[in-house]
Symmetry: C2
Subunit: 659 residues, 2 copies
């Protein structure tokens, strides 16, 4: 009797909790209320010391309670190894997506079987790697436009690439390049996401082999790797991927051709000096050694041709990866160079695909190359060669224009009105300049505004696509110094939202970023992303995006013992876990599966078991697994770590381990 | 010659970079500009669909570029195991502080020797624990007021407490309670931070021993543990700490007495039913079993008396911790109970220390207890006892008043005008009510506003102190459902900033929190926190807050080989690491120290070495260490992971491991 009563009470509470969450919650103001200014607007502005510009910026960025932003901003987290998702223009952080580093809240790589396996696929030579340095996120594209289906991101520190599925915003795959140790010019995708491309940063002997630095030129190499992506499977297919060998210059940023230049790709490089450091052996520091030449090499590669070369079997397989060696690449017309000033950073293709903008870094210009001129120079075979036999086109044959912008040009984005925007690191400024088509004289600096401070990459709305939006640009500033409340010697960075909708550019919002070092970002129209609210069916395995073989239905929970192997099939629902007692013997090996049978949006349950270092997040419909050895006798508590209902604290159970 | 030239160029670039960061950066508007509204304010508001209330809220929360917030908000990250720091009223995130979980960006527990040691101190029975469930942050106090020096936080999942030093916002210590498995009523501090207190959540046999659930009443117990804090050392001293044994009711939230009630502490409890689950054995779920009684027990303990009892040696030492057993606690007048309705959550002491507010959770009231009445009841010895012999004061003797607020009262905070605020989970609402002093009839509900959705804890400005500020309150709402752009089945929570400065309460700002599940927060006046800009001297060890024995000066870098043991003493400065070549042999064991010799604010360098899973953050002046076995021959790159200068990409070096 009593039991029935309390079950009824619990259900009632759950119903009340649910009804409170039906999305019909009242807002501070009703949506139907007329727009207008409050009578005390001036008084508030005065009291808070807001200038008219501040008031404008406040109104342009404020997101009323319950309304949604216009854009998603996907930022790499830098050496936090993750991706951070924010809304624009509010600049509020919507989600952390764990990628190369474990994250306890979302139950990623903290004991959960599937995500540990995803991370382990990125281990290096058997060394467990649980860190990373995410750099350049790339949204999947269809016809050169973001399609909102997948996101790719690289780990520069270990030359890895990850695949994130935007149906559930979770990492599904990590692949490790078997031949290089660091990548930087990645990820970027070809216009239909046939390939996810990465370029080496620091050259090493292929296959992580040993070679002394005295043999740098002979044995160290870079690679441009084209990871084949299967959109249906949502996975990179390593067996269908390949690399193009390049000289041991340090390749930097890359971009894919599109429209006019579809089928081609472009990477900057520096250290064409092939400096090898040795600052304790009386040689120059790398920073000096790699900055000697006034010109480096823009790498121009024909990936459609490379695809044919691979199909024709003209590759060498190194550590399981097909590699087009340099002589083959040269012979087959896959690889060309063009001179570029000086240790440049960004190589960015204009929306129409006709021009490539190279930002000089140690040269105050952006240099604009014409793809048409490049094609003509190649056809004319008018080139010299570098030490590795790679054709070097004549600078004057391929360069269309230069615009002097200022100190430290790094990276360029585009808007919908024919303007380009380039970050200036040393100036701590953003430059706006006009694209000029085929007329070199029409390329003109328009305006510069200061940013705070040391700007790195920039991200404009749909700024990497064939049809940029304009409207907003985010400056990813590396130093914040005094901009925010002090938080000790390690400071946040400063993402500044800049109005580029027309008229003079204006900083609208300073967003401190103290949960990583965002390196680069992409901004996509909100309506292009269509995530799942809950998993498609109860008992879902997000690792395969298919029903789980461990799915457990309500009433079918069980504990199966086979000798010292114990398997637990558990369900979670507000507000209990079934079974709530797991009786083990010391020495048991335990496999434990939990199915969250909830079907209400946001009804996630978490799970931790004291003393076992396991943290799970079980979204509505999801089935997750973990395993452990009951190495010690004792009594342990497990519980739901999400505040899921009024009886959340009561959602627990005990594990007893008998000696 | 060439080398000199490039060093000069590099220095010049560094100087330019520095001068750009001198804090004199231009802002969107000059600070001297007059306040006022822009001419197009109404047009912007109309275009963006802002109501007058929205405009008010926008102006009240917008932080102009370069200005600072009024308050710091320290939020637990929940099962992300960390602490998140934001500014109020802008609600922008300033920093993630890694505590129980490794964090790659800040180089915490990702191979770095000192932070791995701090984390290892929290291991359990030899099991490496790298997760946690942070719940209740507590700022250190002086005379009952936040002093801005330290922050404490518990890990509910493993009964651990961490110490964070607010000079550098870094975790310095983790202690593990050796006798219990989960804590919840922690951390809270005594008014001068003599003790950091924690209460058990789920009872277990003391010392993590085994006992079947059939022996629950006999063998399972809770503890109230008082961790002694040494402010000078900035450390908890386990040898001077002690526990008070309590019955196997599940203790919940606690608070310390202050002013009138200084020397005392208060914890709620539930499961005074001593239910033991067994939902696959035909017994009620825990949620039903622990919710049967209409009244549970408010635990009232005299910690100053307990201190004397410990000094008198009337303790039993269990697993190295002094424990006052229940009979001693009873005999010595350390522990009393008072009935409280029903499975309550918050036990919150009013700013004057005279009253304790208990939020009923399964009862629609808050119940106000008078400390004076409690003292009189104790003096009169007018009590019954529970099954464990603990005195249970008469409810009517100690209860002063009740206020009916609504469904699911959870947690109460206070302002400077005599009002209290209580979260209502099931109502998804915030209640404001009037404190009435000694007059029971003066306690009155004033106002309720809806929040979105499922509110848990609340945090008012200085709301846990003897002198609350009012002004702002943050509602930590557990479900966001439809409030933000969708991000898959795992949704952010919703922190809502609420104006409590006077007049009707208003929601000012919705802050999605997608980097954890903030459980509780404390809000402190910004000028109380005085962090270091850089470490006090070059060669600093943050783990000891003293000079490091591995500090390395510029020009004194070295690599020392002793057989197969190799020790590297490296420096980092824009834009090189010295040495930039580390030549190893397979099988070497390597200890590697890096000193960041920078003294400019924000000149942090990061460090990753490909293939070794190490991530370091080296703030200006800091010396850090890591070690590894060169298990594989090969060629590896290391580099600075912070975008520290225009020549950041060039700040690298090679490790070669000869076969």
């Amino acid at each position: 009797m009593k039991r029935t009563l309390f079950v009824v009470v619990s259900l009632l509470l759950a119903v009340v909790a649910l009804s409170a969450c039906g999305g019909s919650g009242q807002k501070g103001s009703t949506p139907a209320a007329a727009a207008g200014l409050p009578a005390d607007a001036l008084a508030i502005a005065t009291q808070r010391g807001l200038t008219p510009d501040d008031v404008s910026a406040a109104l342009k960025t404020y997101l009323p309670s319950g309304k949604h932003d216009d854009y998603y901003l996907f930022m790499s987290g830098g050496h936090s190894g993750n991706v951070i998702v924010a809304g624009v223009p509010s600049m509020r952080i919507l989600k952390n997506i764990a990628v190369f580093t474990p994250e306890s809240w979302q139950g990623y790589g903290v004991g959960e079987t599937d995500t540990e396996r995803i991370l382990d696929a990125g281990n290096v030579d058997g060394v467990k790697i649980r860190t990373g340095d995410t750099h350049h996120p790339a949204l999947s594209e269809t016809n050169g436009d973001y399609d909102g289906q997948f996101l790719f991101i690289n780990d520069k520190a270990n030359a890895r690439v990850a695949v994130i599925d935007l149906r559930d915003f979770e990492t599904k795959q990590i692949v490790k390049d078997p031949n290089i140790i660091s990548n930087h010019g990645s990820t970027f995708v070809t216009p239909n996401t046939d390939y996810v491309v990465q370029g080496t940063q620091y050259a090493t002997p292929l296959g992580w082999a040993y070679a002394p630095l005295s043999e740098y030129k002979e044995k160290y190499r870079g690679l441009i790797t084209l990871w084949k992506f299967d959109r249906t499977k949502g996975r990179i297919i390593p067996e269908e991927s390949f690399s193009i060998e390049v000289p041991p210059y340090w390749q930097d940023l890359c971009d894919a051709g599109k429209l006019a230049s579809d089928g081609w790709g472009f990477c900057n490089s520096f250290n064409t000096e092939m400096a090898v450091g040795g600052n304790m052996q009386g040689q120059p520091n790398f920073e000096a050694g790699v900055s000697q030449r006034d010109m480096d090499y823009l790498h121009i590669f024909n990936w459609k041709k490379a695809e044919e070369v691979v199909k024709a079997g003209k590759t060498e397989t190194i550590n399981g990866m097909k590699v087009i060696r340099i002589p083959t690449a040269v012979e087959e017309g896959v690889l060309f160079f063009a001179p570029e000033p000086k240790s440049p950073h960004g190589a960015d293709v204009t929306p129409d695909g006709k021009y490539i903008v190279v930002a000089g870094k140690l040269d105050p210009h952006v240099t604009i190359y014409s793809f048409d001129k490049i094609q003509k120079a190649i056809a004319a075979k008018n080139w010299t060669t570098d030490e590795f036999g790679v054709p070097v086109l004549n600078y004057d044959d391929v360069k269309l224009a230069q615009v002097e912008l200022g100190l430290g040009p790094l990276h360029t984005q585009f808007d919908d009105k024919g303007f380009a925007y380039t970050s200036l690191f040393l100036d701590s400024a953003l430059a706006k300049w006009k694209l000029g088509g085929d007329d070199p004289n029409a390329y003109q600096l328009v305006e510069k505004i200061p940013v705070q401070y040391n700007i790195g990459h920039i991200s404009a709305a749909e700024g990497d696509t064939v049809s940029p939006d304009g409207n907003y640009l985010v400056a990813l500033n590396k130093w914040a110094v005094d901009r925010f409340l002090p938080v000790g010697p390690l400071l946040p960075q400063n993402e500044q939202l800049i109005d580029i909708s027309g008229g003079p550019m204006k900083v609208l919002y300073d967003m401190p970023m103290g949960v990583g070092e965002p390196h680069y970002a992409q901004m996509i129209k909100a309506d292009k992303i269509k995530p799942w609210d809950i998993y498609p069916q109860v008992g879902w395995d997000p690792a395969t995006q298919a029903p789980s073989k461990y799915a457990t239905k309500l009433g079918e929970e069980k504990i199966v013992r086979d000798g010292s192997n114990v398997e637990v099939f558990m369900t979670s629902v507000r507000s209990h876990l079934t079974p709530d007692r797991v009786e083990l013997k010391k020495g048991d090996h335990v496999k434990w599966h939990i199915t969250n049978v909830e079907t209400a949006k946001d009804a996630t349950h978490g799970f931790q078991l004291g003393g076992q270092g396991v943290s799970l997040s079980i979204e509505p419909g999801e089935t997750v697994s973990f395993e452990f050895d009951a190495a010690h006798d004792g009594t342990y508590a497990f519980y739901c770590t999400e505040f899921c209902s009024a009886l959340h604290l009561e959602m627990m159970g005990y594990v007893t381990v008998e000696p």
